[in-house]
Each structure stands twice: as C-alpha cells, then as structure tokens.
C-alpha cells in the first residue's frame, strides 16, 4: 500500500481495522453455525440468514470505504444536520414503517429491513462531540446556592443530556424498542470523561442502587422507615446544624421519591418487562416454563460448552432452535457452546481490546471533537457488549440488543461500521488539523 497522503488509507489505524475485520468474520462464522443445517450448505444462499449477512457485510465494506473517502470536516460541519435527519427518520418510521411484533421501527425493502434507530447512535455521538468541543460542562465550586449560578453551571450539562434523552423517548415511547433506546445511556460515560460532576454520577448510582433495592424489598413502609432511620442517623453523625438538616431532608425526599417512583414504574411496566426483571432478581414465583425459559436455555447452551467447547458446527443446543434468537441477540450462546470458555473469553477480549484501543486513540487526539467522538464510540460498544453478554449469562435483564459486529442484522452492522469508521477517519487526520 502506497504511503502517500492521497491514499485513503493514509494515517488510518490498521490495528483497529484488523480487529474490526476479525470480529465481523468470526461473527459470520457463528451465524453460519447457528443457522446451519446439512441441506443448505451454499453460503451464498440468500434465503438463509448467513447468505443475507454476506450481503450486509459487503454493504458494510462499501460503507467503510465511502467514509474513508469523504473529507473528515464533513462530519464536524454536518453534525447537527445528521442529528436532525435521523431524528426525523425515527419519527417518520412510526407511520411509514411496518409493525413487527408490537414495535414500529422497521423500514422494509422486500426481504431486507432497516432500523433507523440504529443510525441514531452515531448521529447523537456526532452532535455531542460538536456541542461539547467548544463548551465545558465542568462545574465551578459554589459556596452559596443561588438559582442563577446553578443554571449557569449546569446549563451545558442539561443541554447535552437533552441531546441524549430525545432519541431515548422517541425510540422507547413511540417505536416501543426498549433495547435500542436504552443504549443511549452509554453517552453518560462520555459526559463523565468531559467533566460531568462526580456528584451527578454518585446520585445516579445511588438512585440505581435504590431502584434495585426497592425491587428486592417489596414492603414499601419497611423501606421508607429504614431510609428515615439512616437519614436521622447521618444527621446526628455529621453535625446538627440547619444546613445539614436541609441537605439530609432533601436527600431523604429524593430517595423516597426514587423508591415510590420505582414502585410506580414497576407496577406500570408491561407484563413481559416485569417478568424479565423478576427473572433477573429471582423475585416472586418465576416460572421457568415460560419467562425464565430464554435465559435458562441460554445458560444451558453456554454451560454445555465446557472449557474447550463442542467444536465448530457441533453444537446441539443452539442448532435445534432451542435458544430463541440464537442468531441475533443470543449469538453468544453459539460461541459459548461450540467454542467453550476458551472461545467465549476470546471473543470478549477481542471486543474489549477494540474498545480500549479506541480509548487509547481518543486520548492522542489534538482536537476535542475527535476525542469526544472516540469516547462515544467506545462507550456505545461497551454498553452493547456488557448488556448483551450480561443477559445471556443471567447478569442482566433480557433486553434485546445486539453484540457489536457479531449478531445477525444489517442495520446494527452498518450502524456500528459507520460509528467506528467515522472515528477511524477522524483519527487519520489527527496530525493535519487542529479542530
């Protein structure tokens, strides 16, 4: 390959691209294994999913080249444009799209379908990078709480959070795609890197812990009284003055709010979502027959792999459609069964390596835009990795989101490719310009 500035490969990080390619190839091999049967061995058979995935992969290669060809400035200049465009597409799909199993998130073209929600990820990432690259969300220490100062301090944070929340609301509420919506939470990691105050995170974390606790402890009064005792105790402990009293009361009120809110949310969940949470927490009488079935089968498939696995195409659990959605969200089961502990940790390491590599590359950027965008890519990939594998091994509730580059599906593969290659392009330009 010629090393000149005109080559589209000038300055691109080869390690990242190789890791990407390796993941895509391994992913396809596993989809082939998941769908495999003796009667259809032609890998180009487009009536089968592995055949279709080949078409998707070819498309992804074209997209990757296309992105590397376009000037890097294009993405910074049109960041808001992309955001608005894909937001509109996500709203239009509600009317123009076709309803599949209760959610309206697909544009259909014959046998192939596209989910605009997948593409919202890179658009949101671009907009956050653009927005944060010339503003700060770092909070100055204030000694007197005044509304004016508060607004001044948190204005940028709130706008950034708004950019994240709008797609969540549209995708969850209108399209009814919980999995696709929840991914946007990953961008909080980007905000943290860019200076989001730790107080925010601690409060968020505490709220999350309280959320889980209030689901496990079902008695409301017990919980509220316990919280009150803790609050009273900490007040006595930290010193009895008026300021502390106010703080303790506010914190108590917030916690009580979370507890009551959790109860409200839980009671208003769809029955199948309720059950997923019950399965995870072992709460109530979870019936292994139905709701626990998916997770239990996934665990059996993975567990049966042992240390070395049963060998490629030798899996029985995943082959007989015993694990649902084994080629999309539960693709990791095929890995676990056929490649064992050895293979499944290998895949996780490969994914983790890619993510850490992206963080490393992000940190060497001179431009804020590129760094922030890079962190967004790493955060989104990690979130998918953690939730997808977490659910197959029973550490997370069953939320339908794909394993990056691995799961069957054109929209997700293309969306991850775009997300990653824009970063590779930005990174290749790191020495040319300072944005």
């Amino acid at each position: 390959m010629a090393r000149n500035e005109n080559s589209i490969f000038y300055g691109v990080d080869r390690i990242t691209i190789l890791t990407y390619a390796l993941l895509v190839v391994l992913g396809w091999l596993n989809i082939y294994a998941a769908v495999y049967n003796e009667d259809h061995q032609n890998i180009f058979d487009t009536t089968q999913k592995y055949g279709k995935q080949l078409i998707w992969i070819s498309g992804a290669v074209v997209i990757a080249f296309g992105i590397l060809l376009i000037d890097a400035n294009f993405y910074t200049v049109f960041a808001y444009g992309f955001y608005v465009f894909f937001l509109t597409a996500n709203i239009l799909v509600i009317w123009l799209g076709r309803e599949v199993k209760g959610s309206k998130s697909w544009f259909r073209f014959g046998d192939f379908g596209i989910q605009p929600a997948e593409f919202m990820k890179f658009a949101t990432n671009l907009v956050l990078a653009k927005f944060l690259s010339n503003r700060t969300i770092i909070v100055n220490q204030v000694f007197r709480l005044r509304l004016k100062d508060l607004i001044k301090n948190y204005k940028n944070t709130l706008i950034a959070l708004l950019f994240i929340c709008v797609p969540i609301v549209i995708i969850k509420k209108l399209q009814n795609e919980t999995g696709l919506a929840i991914v946007f939470i990953a961008f909080v990691i980007v905000l943290y890197r860019e200076g989001l105050s730790v107080t925010f995170l601690i409060f968020g974390l505490l709220a999350a812990i309280l959320f889980v606790v209030s689901l496990v402890v079902t008695s409301l009064p017990t919980l509220l009284i316990t919280l009150a005792i803790i609050a009273a105790g900490s007040f006595l402990f930290v010193g009895r003055n008026r300021k502390n009293l106010i703080v303790v009361i506010i914190v108590y009120a917030c916690s009580a709010g979370v507890v009551l809110g959790t109860n409200y949310v839980y009671n208003h969940l769809e029955p199948h979502q309720k059950v997923r949470i019950d399965v995870l927490l072992g709460r109530g009488n979870v019936n292994l027959k139905k709701e626990g079935y998916n997770v239990n089968q996934a665990k059996i498939a993975i567990g049966s792999g042992g240390f070395w696995g049963k060998g490629y195409l030798q899996g029985t659990q995943t082959k007989y459609d015993f694990v649902p959605e084994q080629d999309t969200d539960f693709i990791f089961c095929t890995v676990g069964e056929e490649w064992g502990f050895f293979g499944s940790t290998g895949v996780i390491f490969l994914e983790l390596f890619l993510i850490l590599r992206i963080i490393f590359l992000s940190e060497r950027q001179r431009s804020d835009f590129s760094r922030i965008y890079g962190y967004g890519v790493a955060a989104v990939l990690f979130f998918h990795l953690a939730v997808n594998i977490g659910m197959t091994i029973g550490l997370m509730p069953v939320i339908g989101i794909p394993l990056p580059f691995f799961s069957y599906g054109g929209s997700s593969l293309w969306a991850f490719t775009i997300l990653l290659f824009i970063f590779i392009k930005l990174d290749s330009n790191r020495l040319l310009i300072l944005r």
């Binding site: 049967n37 003796e38 009667d39 259809h40 009536t47 089968q48 076709r98 309803e99 599949v100 199993k101 209760g102 700060t136 770092i138 990691i189 943290y192 890197r193 860019e194 200076g195 292994l288 027959k289 139905k290 079935y293 665990k299 059996i300 498939a301 993975i302 567990g303 049966s304 792999g305 042992g306 240390f307 029985t316 659990q317 082959k319 007989y320 459609d321 015993f322 676990g336 064992g340 502990f341 499944s344 940790t345 996780i348 390491f349 983790l352 993510i355 850490l356 963080i359 940190e363 804020d368 760094r371 962190y375 790493a378 990690f382 953690a386 594998i389 977490g390 091994i393 029973g394 550490l395």
Partner: protein
C-alpha cells in the same frame, strides 16, 4: 485545553471500569462453563423437537342450550423434509391425489424460510376423513411424514352462516403483527367467529420432546416440566333461537332479503337471517373449502353478504312511525290532528302520491292506512315548527331525534362490519340544492322514508324494539354469555333512552300499528287470531327495480316478547310478502307452530328470485 489535562486521569477510571466488568463476566463464564455441572447434565447430545399443541375452539350454544357450532377432528399432514429419505413418494402422491411436480413444489416450500428442512411444516391441510384413513394404513411407508390433529368447525344444523361467520387461515400481515399467530394458524374472519376470536381461540400449548440421532422421539424434555398444555377456547352462549332461525331461513328461501328479530326487554337477537343463505359446513376443511368459497363468492345473488348488517335499504313507510312519534313529542300534532289527502300531498301538486284509503285520516288512522300525504304534512310541521326560527335548526332537530333510534349511527353490536345507514345531513343538501336552496317541501319525501334515507335491517328491528319498549332499547347483541361464568359485557346491560319520551305518543302509534292488522289496515291479511300483533308495512321504492317489501312488528301488544323486521328485495308491497313472513315467525316463536298452514305453504313455495309467484294480488 487546560481542562483536558485535569480530566485525562478519568481515562483510567473508565478503562478500569470496563476491565472490571469484563473480569466479572469472565468469572461468571468460568463458573457456568467449567465449574458448575448442572448445565452439562441438562444438555447431552440429544436433540429436541418443539411441537405445538392446538387448542380446541370454543363451542357455541343457542339460547336454549342447543349446540349451534361444534368441532370435528381433522388432520393436517406434517412433514420434516430432511427425514424423508426412503419415503414412498409415488405412493404418497397417489393417496393425496397430487402430481409429482406438486409434491416437489410443496417440499421446496417446506424447506424455505420461514420453514426449515429440520422443522415440521404443513404439507397437506385438513385431509378428508377418507384420505386420512388410507394414509393411516400406509403411514410407515411415508418416512418424515406424520399426521397432526387439528379441529375444524362443524355445524349440526346448516343454519345461521352469516351470523356465526367462518374461520380461515390467518393472513401474512396479521401473523407478523400479532405475536399469537403464526402462518398457517386459523382465525375468525367474519361474524361471531371474528368478534369473539380471542375468547374462542383458547391458548396454544408447546411440547418439547427429546429425539435420538435417528430423530425418533425418545421422551419428553425435563419430563415435560417445560411443556405447556393447550387451553381450550371458551364456550359462547348465543341469543339465537335455533328453531326460529331455521324456520325463518326456510321462509326466506327463494327470496332475497333479511329478517332480524330482537327480544325487546333485553336487546338479544333471536334470529338474524340474510337470504340467500349458504350451508356453513361448506366453508370448513382444506381443498373443499377453497372450491366452495370461490363458487359462493362468484354467485351473483351474493350469498356471502350479510344483508342484515350491511345492506342499506330505503325504509319506506315504516319510517312514518318515527315521524308520528317525534311530531307528538314536539306537540305539533296530536291524536285528533287530521290532514287532507288527495291521492297525494296537495301542497306539492299530489306528490308524493298516495293510495285509495277512504279520505282524510287522523293520527291513528294514518298509521293503520299508511297515508303518504299525512306524513308529508307531519314532516313539514316538525321541521318548520316555531321553536326553530331557522329552518336548518328544525331539520337538524328532526335528524338528531331520528338518530337516537339508531338510523345513521353504528349501533355497536357485537358483530363486525355493521353499516350505519344514512340520514342525510344539512351540509349534504346544501351541496345538492345550494345553500338556502332547500325547504321542508323540497325534501318532504324523507317524511315517508324515501329520498336518501337508508337503514340496515338491524336498525329497522331496533326501531320497532324501541317502540315496543316505549322509549328505550338495549344494544342488540347476539352473545349473552362468554365462558362457563356466562360473562356479558356491561354495555349490553345499559338502557339507551331515545329522544322521544312522551308515553301518550307511543300509545297512539302502537294503537295505529295494532289497527294496521285490522280490517281497513294495510296488513289485515296477516292478522292472527289469538295474538295481538302491532305492525307496519312499508314499500320502499328503489331505483334498481321493483320496490322492496318491508314489514316490521312486535307481539304481543302487552309485554312484548319479540320485535321483528323483514325486508324482501324487489317483492313489491310489504303487506303481501313480508308481513306473512313476520307473522309466521311470531307464531313460531310464541306458539311453536302456525295456525295458518295455507299461508305458510304459500310463503315456503314462493320463489321470488326466479320470478315465479310474482303476481301482485292487487292488494294495497
């Protein structure tokens, strides 16, 4: 940026957090895959086969507990393509009476998505009993094929096809939208089968079997702990009286039209006939069904069309009852009001025309004799009354009052696809005649149930039920209980009061209806000796040919048990054909049989569709 250097330490926290999660996951994986034996025991090298157990569709009973719809066993021939090595293909083609090409075509379909060579899919749907018997003898030769038990509908008596509706394969779109259905499943398409689909269908069950390397079933996975049993559909208790329905269908044989009978005190539909009928048993089964359906669909008499709910007819003279009620309620006409008749409506030069009935009539006489002139005056009195200085308000008042009886609205029954009929709106006439270009006399034929007025037979029956109740109705419905608890939707227990509540108005109209069955009335020929019937004839002119014969009635006069409306297309005068059908059905329902066998014979023998017996008796 200076901030960046302060914050770059956070990269370690983020990276560290990512690594921590991965380490936790690896520990978990190590536990599941290497340490814990539980999962290895659960999975050995056996394969699994998941099969669906189909529930039995709910039975439907009539109001007296007689079986209207039941199920009979039926078998689908299933195939697992990759197990068919060594199958006697030619023998199978012979049994199923298909060609080799057809066999290959179906086999290809069974291999393609969403089917799969290693999954079972339907090869032949709902085999006839004969085919199944032959197949069963030779099944050992047909490797990879096996019969699966399903059920199909069966009708002990070939009646009430339109009301009951039929079941057919779910459409591809519906199967994609609704997670309950998979392609090849059955769903109610029309009638009760459609509106009570969720109650009737029950719930599918799943069985997971363990098979050996030769794909023989060797047991049930986890001893059936993960299996779910199919839950049968709930029985429905219908409001129909089977005997009355059957009798009505016989009477309507050879006639195009509809009859709807309602129990006024509950709104329960006692009979709903749309003629011509078809045998519901024709629309079950596999091959036969599609053949029969094509024949019925192409029939020019439209036997698949439920006239009782969706055929909109001009009501004709029966509409005069509503005018009489509204006018009295508004106080613009009373019992002693007399209007002239000159074989027609004098102010408009004798249009609409009337017939010879012996001079000017008072209110009760006008109902009995059905005077067109009288109701042209009445209509104008209502629309032009002083309370509404603006003519358009008067018209809207008339229209809205009429609509409280049901015409122009969806009654909200528990049957799908009912039509609202039509009571023309003021904007409609503005369009036709121009704004302010119309007056009460322009549209006076509305008063006698002509012009653009359209009602479906169910609405006609609801009007007469409301009159018999003297001012209210229950939404007509055909299911009185779902499941063994006989649950009934609240909305069918709710009284709907119409806008006419003056009891005296009902007394006079009912007296007029009773006199219509007396000498001098329009339906005296259908008078019954021992039951006081209150009826009203109608002869609805229509642009497509001879007038439709309409008759509605309720009986007995005190404490009415049945309200009924009948329309026979292109049969001429209501008194000649529809009144006998209605009164015969009243006798059947109240007495069990008719005391007028000669009239019964005349109606049963009449074939109005092919033009026989269409001699007008000259009776007006």
């Amino acid at each position: 940026m200076s901030n960046n250097s302060q914050l770059s330490g956070r990269k370690f926290i983020i990276g560290g957090f990512f690594c921590l999660i991965v380490i936790i996951y690896m520990c978990r994986l190590f536990y599941i895959q290497v340490i814990d034996e539980q999962y290895k025991l659960a999975s050995n090298n056996n394969a699994f086969r998941r099969s669906t157990e189909y529930p039995v569709r709910g039975y439907i009973f009539d109001r007296n507990g007689k079986l209207l719809v039941q199920n009979s066993p039926s078998y689908d021939l299933m195939v697992i393509p990759r197990e068919t090595k060594g199958c006697d293909t030619i023998g199978l083609c012979e049994v199923l009476e298909i060609t080799k090409e057809e066999y290959l075509k179906r086999m290809k379909k069974a291999c393609q998505a969403p089917n799969s060579p290693r999954k079972e899919s339907v090869f032949e749907k709902q085999m006839s009993a004969k085919t199944y018997a032959i197949l069963q003898e030779k099944i050992y030769r047909f490797k990879g094929f096996f019969p699966q038990k399903r059920t199909v509908r069966q009708y002990p008596k070939p009646i009430a096809a339109h009301l009951l509706g039929y079941v057919n394969e779910v459409t591809k779109e519906k199967a994609e939208k609704d997670p309950y259905y998979r392609e090849g499943d059955y769903i109610g398409i029309t009638g009760i089968e459609r509106s009570y689909e969720e109650q009737l269908r029950g719930k599918k069950g799943t069985q997971i079997s363990i098979t050996d390397v030769h794909n023989k079933i060797i047991g049930r996975y986890m001893n059936g702990a993960l299996d779910t049993a199919a839950i049968p559909g709930k029985p429905l208790y219908c409001t129909i009286d089977m005997d009355l329905q059957e009798y009505g269908e016989k009477l309507m044989h050879g006639k195009k039209g509809a009859v709807v009978a309602i129990e006024p005190s509950t709104g329960e539909i006692l009979a709903m006939i749309s003629s011509p009928v078809y045998d519901p048993n024709l629309l079950v089964g596999g091959k036969e069904r599609s053949k029969n359906y094509t024949v019925l669909e192409r029939d020019t008499l439209l036997p698949l069309f439920n006239r009782a709910l969706i055929a909109m007819y001009p009501p004709g003279s029966i509409f005069k009852l509503l005018d009489a009620l509204i006018a009295q309620n508004d106080g613009v006409v009373d019992k002693s009001t007399v209007f002239p008749c000159a074989m027609g409506y004098p102010p408009m030069g004798g249009k609409p025309k009337c017939h010879k009935h012996g001079g000017a009539k008072d209110l009760i006489g006008s109902v009995a004799a059905s005077c067109n002139s009288y109701y042209s005056y009445v209509f104008c009195r209502i629309v032009d009354q002083r309370k509404y200085p603006k003519f358009i308000d008067g018209y809207n008042h008339w229209r809205e009052t009429v609509m409280t009886f049901g015409p122009g609205t969806h009654l909200g029954t528990d049957l799908p696809y009912d039509k609202p009929g039509n009571v023309p709106s003021a904007p409609y006439y503005d369009k036709v005649f121009g704004k302010n270009g119309w007056r009460s006399n322009t549209i006076v034929s509305l008063g006698i149930g002509q012009a653009e007025l359209l009602l479906v037979p169910l609405q006609m029956a609801n009007v007469v039920a409301t009159i018999s109740n003297r001012g209210f109705y229950y939404t007509p419905h055909c299911i009185k209980g779902v499941g063994n608890q006989k649950y009934l939707d609240k909305k069918f227990k709710e009284k709907h009061f119409v806008a006419v509540q003056k009891q005296e108005a009902y007394d006079n109209v009912i007296e007029g209806m009773a006199r219509a069955m007396e000498p001098g009335g329009t339906a005296v020929a259908s008078r019954l000796k021992d039951i006081v019937v209150c009826g009203k004839t109608g002869t609805a002119q229509n642009p497509h040919g001879q007038s439709h014969a309409v008759f509605l009635a309720f009986a007995p006069r005190d404490n009415p048990k049945i309200a009924i409306a009948c329309i026979i297309e292109n049969a001429g005068f209501g008194g000649v054909w529809s009144a006998p059908v209605v009164t015969l059905m009243i006798e059947k329902y109240l007495k069990g049989k008719t005391a007028r066998p000669e009239i019964e014979k005349r109606i049963l023998d009449a074939d109005l569709i092919n033009g026989k017996n269409l001699l007008s008796t000259g009776f007006h």
